[in-house]
Each structure stands twice: as C-alpha cells, then as structure tokens.
C-alpha cells in the first residue's frame, strides 16, 4: 500500500514540473457600498429569504415558514426558542426525520455570496439542519463580511472537524433546468439578521 504512495510521489517528482512562485497575495477585493443589501439580493436569488429583526424578540417579529403555534417538531440551537417534539427527544440522529423546523446560529454572513458560515455545535445539529423541512438561521447584523476573502480570514480550521457555508435551501435544476427547492434537505431558508 505504501508502495503506491511512494510510486506516486516518485512519479510526481519525475514529472519535473517547473516551480512557480506562489502568486502574490491577492489585493483586497473591492469593497461594496451596502453589504446587507447585497446579501439580501444574493440570498433571494438562491431561493432564501432575509428578515431583519431585533435580537431580543426576533421570534415574535419575523414571518415564520409555518404557522408557529402548530409546529410540533422543532430543533433549536438558541434558547430563545425552546426545542420541542423530536427536536427534544429524538434519541438517534435518524429519528430526526420528520423534523419541521431547525434553528441555527451562524457566525457570520458573506454579502457577496449570499451565504452564512456555520459550525454545527454537534453532529446531531448538522443532521437536524439537513432533515428538517424548514431552516432558520440567525446571524448578528454586525457580522456581515464583504467577500469570501474576508470570510477565510475569520475561519479557524482547527476549531472543528466540520463547518459549512449555507446559501439558500437545498435545490436542484436537474429536470429540464427548472429550479425546485427542497431537493433533499430543507425547502426554505430564512436568514434572520438581528440588531441589538
């Protein structure tokens, strides 16, 4: 097996590719005038929805993807909305199938990409975010960066085994290029941008 490794490394050495200096670090990408507006536009193109609300009582201010009072199974990473149903008492990851809403906190949003950077606090939280019908992601209004260049300056790879950018709900256009939301994962994504 390590024969394969040594062989491959030897072949790569033998290819004698010219060594090219690393590119000079990119000049900072041009800034943008109104990052929140950019974020909203890109997110809407991706089939998501952006809502601004007050951090203190956003759950009462926003428009919910479902009638909030009728939701039986909800997983929430934020104490302001308590989990219920399966979100509370599923004992295995797979039992989360049937979850109606999953609420996550994102670390920051990337305006140019219409995306948020999120690190699930546990593997189960990631499963919940994938199996739920509707996803709500909460991010602080002060935490909007312009581009992915700025984003990667903030991401510490050693912090966790997994992290993701999320941009709108799960989607496909594999049948005649017509866009369908909710290919495998959530059918909707609401990004709640909270002000102090």
């Amino acid at each position: 097996m390590n024969r394969a490794r040594d062989d491959i490394l030897a072949r790569l050495d033998a290819a004698r590719t010219p060594r090219v200096e690393p590119p000079r670090p990119p000049t900072a990408p041009p800034g943008m005038d109104d990052p929140p507006a950019f974020l909203r536009a890109r997110l809407e193109e991706a089939g998501g929805r952006l809502q601004m609300a007050a951090a203190r009582n956003w759950p009462d201010e926003i428009e919910w993807p479902l009638d909030r009072t009728a939701v039986r199974h909800l997983h929430s990473a934020l104490p302001i909305v308590p989990s219920r149903g399966l979100g509370l008492d599923a004992t295995t990851d797979r039992e989360l199938d049937g979850l109606e809403i999953c609420i996550l906190r994102a670390e920051f949003a990337v305006a140019e990409s219409g995306a948020v950077w999120q690190v699930p606090s546990s593997p189960r939280e990631r499963v919940a975010a994938l199996l739920a019908e509707h996803l709500i992601v909460v991010v602080d209004a002060t935490e909007i960066v312009a581009t992915l260049h700025h984003a990667y300056q903030r991401i510490d790879p050693a912090r966790s085994a997994f992290g993701w950018f999320l941009c709108g709900p799960s989607k496909t256009a594999d049948i005649e290029q017509s866009l369908v939301l909710g290919a495998h994962g959530p059918r909707t994504l609401d990004l709640i941008v909270t002000n102090a």
Binding site: R16, P18, P123, A161, F162, G163, T172, A183, H184, G185
Partner: protein
C-alpha cells in the same frame, strides 16, 4: 462509430437538439450576468490560474503536507496508482465492515474509475444521490454533462422512468412533482445507508481538510448519518492554503450555473465526533461504531499528464462545466457523442491526452471559436490545446503521403498559368455535368451536408479579357 455518427443520433431529434442548445446557452448567459456582478472577476481568474500553476509545480510537497495534517486530524489517507487500486481500496473498506448499502454524491473521479460497476458486481448496493446522477443511473447511462448529468433528457422521459422505477403516477412530468418523488425515495436510502462516498472539490494542504460543494445537500445527507465517509480525490485537486479557497469558490458556482454560491459548501477535516449512543432498545440505534473518515488520493494517469508540458495546464480544471455550456459543438451534439467520462472541450483535451488513438476524433469536434478559453475560470487555453492535438494527430495521419502528393501537384499547376487555365476550363465543364450533390459524403462526413456552388461557365480571367477587348472595341469605334 465516431463522434460525427454519435452526434447524428442526437440531432436526429431536432426538438431535443434545439432545447438542449438553448438551455445550455441560457446557463452561459446566467454565468455572464453573475460574473459581471464581481468587479474583480478577471483578477480572480488570474489569481486562480496562478495558484494552480504554483500548486501543480509542487504536488509532492503539498500532498505530503496534506497527509500529515489530515492524519493528525484523524483522517485515514490512502493512495491509489490507478482506477483498479482505487476501487479495491473502497471495496475493502466496505467489506471489512460488512457494509452493503452505500450512497454516493457526485464525483467525476469515481465515474472515471468505474466504481459503481466494481461495487455492484461484488454485491454492494450503491445509490447515486444527485438527482441528475440518479436519473442516469436508473437509465443505465453515463452522465452527459459534468454539472447537469441529465441535461440530455426531457421531463416526459424522466416521468416514464420514475413511473417504472419509483412507482410514480402515470403521465407525471412536472419537475416539482418528479423531484418530490425522488426526494421521498432517496430520503429512505439516506436513512438506511451504512456508508457515504463523495468526491472532493478542493483539498487543502495546510489544514489536511477538504471541501465538497453541492446544491442538493446530498453529499451532506450522505455523510452526516453513516459512520463511514470515504472521499476520493484526484491528484490535481490540492491547494496550498485555506485562504486559496476564496478565489476558487467565488469563481466556481458563478461559472457553473450563474449562482453566487452553491447551497452547501462543506468543509471536512477529520471524522466527526461520535453521536451520543442511543439506548439499546431503540430501533436504528446508531453510535455502534466510531465515525471514520477516509480519503483516497488517486493518480490514474494524472502524473503522466503532469509530465507533458503542453497539456499540464488542463490539470487546473475545477470541473465547473462552463466550457461545455458555451461550446457550439457540445450544445448541438450532446454529451454522449463524446463517448468519454468528461465531454465537451475539457473532455476532448483530457481524454485525448490520456489516449490519443481512441479519441483521435475529439480535437476535431471543435470550431476553434475559442469561447471555452474565454469563459474558463482558471484560464486553461482549451482551444489552443485542441489545435495542438490536431497537429500531432495529423502528423501521423495514414493519408499523409496522398495529401503531400496532391499538394505537390497543385503547386506545379499553380506555377504554370497556361496549365492552370486549361485545367480550370476542363474542370468547370466537367463539374457542370455532375449532379449538384456529387460532393456529398465523398470526402468523409465533412462534405455530407455541403455542396459546391454552381460553377460559372467562364473564369474571372476570361471575363476580364472579354471586357478589355470590348472596351477596346468601343474606343476604336469612337
């Protein structure tokens, strides 16, 4: 059968051809619109190309650093010289754990290696979970596009397929309803899967991590539930630093579909921590095994390509598909006409570089319009590479002697105006007696839909002489 004959089968359905052409062109225009919104787009392309040039110049160091950092994070690293070794490694990992049900998200590499048939023959059920890939898997076909695998099919055909394979209602052809049907069918398979296989879009040497992007979330569902995740990565996919991801991710989705970003851009680095064990009395109790993450680094001809300076640049490809969408030949001939894992301009380059005998025709499935090189986010000079292939293929053309002889003859005639004129006269007289379609198919497929214009009865020189004579006569008469 060559590319031309296979393309002929595709265009036999003009309605499908027109739709295919227009749908892909629409994707191309969406790409343009998305690129225009990025003020530093051209800088980004240059940056991405420079990072790739740099990375391809030091693959051994980068992969060794990757191996060290990945192992430190708990990822198990495997190396495969070719497709067979790759398939055996994957099979062994599954077999050792008694795994029979596997879900896979899109990976052109496993397609190239023929992983599905390899596992299928050994009794492992492997389900492609990207909707387009699932469709072609159920039809026992190859994908016809690297980003949109089922772009050659119409909704009606997919409806009939789902009716048969998923018990869908008769006459179903609404994309919403079809997707819902597939979602239900695949959700059950995700929940039952014992291992998830994925490709890799970018590996990062500095962190030992890697990134997988999807719009459907299938790579995530496929790896979040099972305890075993095996990722397959080609040697060319490595980037030195985490920050290098930024230019590539800003380019990739915009080039591919015109989206700002894919819905899921997942960063893996090491196996996930085990989920809390379920009480033993619960059905589907997970947590039996600690989650494992394996990565298989595959050569399969890449190191050879790296050693060929003319085609090294093709290894920078990030598989966005933009060159396919823009290519006038691809759009009108369909992906299957290339009979190659990767179709379109980049496929013609890669496949011909791999095996120039089998694919000798592909460099000619090109109008040299250069549109592919224009859209390529990593600035691969695709059309110039295809031209270079043409030259090297033509130089060992069996008809070379004949061609030489013909050109010699032509040269001799052109040097003697009298011969030239006489031959021209005979030729015109002769050709006018032939049926208008005499050229058809005579000189291979190129002449099949072409005919010569009707030849005039007199040559330019003759006409000119007559005019001069007539004018002289008029002037004399005055």
């Amino acid at each position: 059968m060559g590319h031309v004959e296979r393309a002929a089968r595709f265009v036999a359905d003009p309605e499908r051809t027109r739709w295919h052409d227009e749908a892909l062109w629409h994707v191309r225009t969406r790409r343009d619109a998305a690129a225009r919104l990025v003020p530093d787009w051209e800088d980004l392309r240059e940056q991405a190309a420079a990072i790739k040039r740099h990375a391809l110049g030091r693959l051994p160091e980068l992969w060794q650093a990757f191996e060290t950092n990945a192992s430190r994070a708990g990822t198990i690293v495997h190396w495969a010289r070719d497709a067979r070794e790759h398939n055996e490694i994957v099979y062994r990992l599954l077999q050792e754990r008694g795994i029979r049900r596997v879900v896979k998200s899109k990976s052109m590499l496993t397609e190239e290696c023929g992983l599905n048939p390899h596992l299928g023959k050994r009794g492992i059920e492997i389900v492609d979970t990207d909707l387009g890939e699932r469709i072609v898997q159920l039809r026992r076909e190859a994908p016809s596009h690297i980003v949109m695998p089922a772009i050659h099919l119409r909704r009606r055909e997919i409806g009939e397929l789902f009716e048969r394979e998923m018990g869908g209602p008769k006459g179903i052809d609404d994309p919403e309803a079809l997707t819902a049907l597939a979602r239900r069918d695949l959700r059950a398979r995700f929940l039952a899967a014992e291992a998830g296989l994925t490709g890799v879009n970018f590996a990062v040497a500095e962190t030992g991590g890697f990134v997988v992007v999807t719009n459907e979330g299938n790579a995530d569902l496929g790896t979040a539930l099972p305890d075993l995740h095996i990722a397959s990565v080609g040697l060319e996919k490595i980037l030195p630093k985490q920050g290098d991801l930024a230019p590539f991710l800003r380019l990739l989705a915009r080039s591919a579909t015109g989206q700002a970003m894919t819905a899921y851009t997942s960063h893996f680095r090491g196996p996930r921590p085990p989920s809390p064990a379920a009480p033993p009395d619960r059905p589907g109790s997970d947590g039996r095994r600690d989650p494992e993450l394996h990565i298989v680094i595959v050569d399969n001809g890449r190191s050879r390509l790296l050693g060929t300076p003319a085609f090294r640049e093709a290894l920078a490809c990030i598989r966005c598909g933009a060159c396919l969408n823009t290519c006038p030949v691809y759009r009108r001939s369909g992906g299957h006409s290339y009979e190659a894992t990767i179709p379109g301009p980049i496929g013609s380059v890669l496949e011909t570089a791999r095996d120039s005998r089998t694919h000798a025709e592909l460099p000619f499935a090109c109008s040299l319009c250069g549109s592919c090189s224009e859209v390529c986010p990593v600035r691969i000079p695709l059309h110039r590479q295809l031209l270079a292939f043409r030259e090297s293929i033509s130089s060992d053309d069996p008809h070379r002697r004949l061609r030489r002889w013909g050109l010699d003859l032509l040269g001799r005639v052109m040097l003697r105006p009298a011969h030239y004129e006489r031959l021209g006269r005979w030729g015109r007289a002769f050709a006018r007696r032939l049926p208008g379609t005499w050229l058809e198919g005579l000189l291979g497929p190129w002449t099949r839909h072409r005919s010569l214009p009707t030849l005039p009865s007199r040559s330019f020189r003759e006409l000119h002489r007559e005019r001069v004579k007539a004018r002289a006569a008029r002037e004399d008469g005055r």
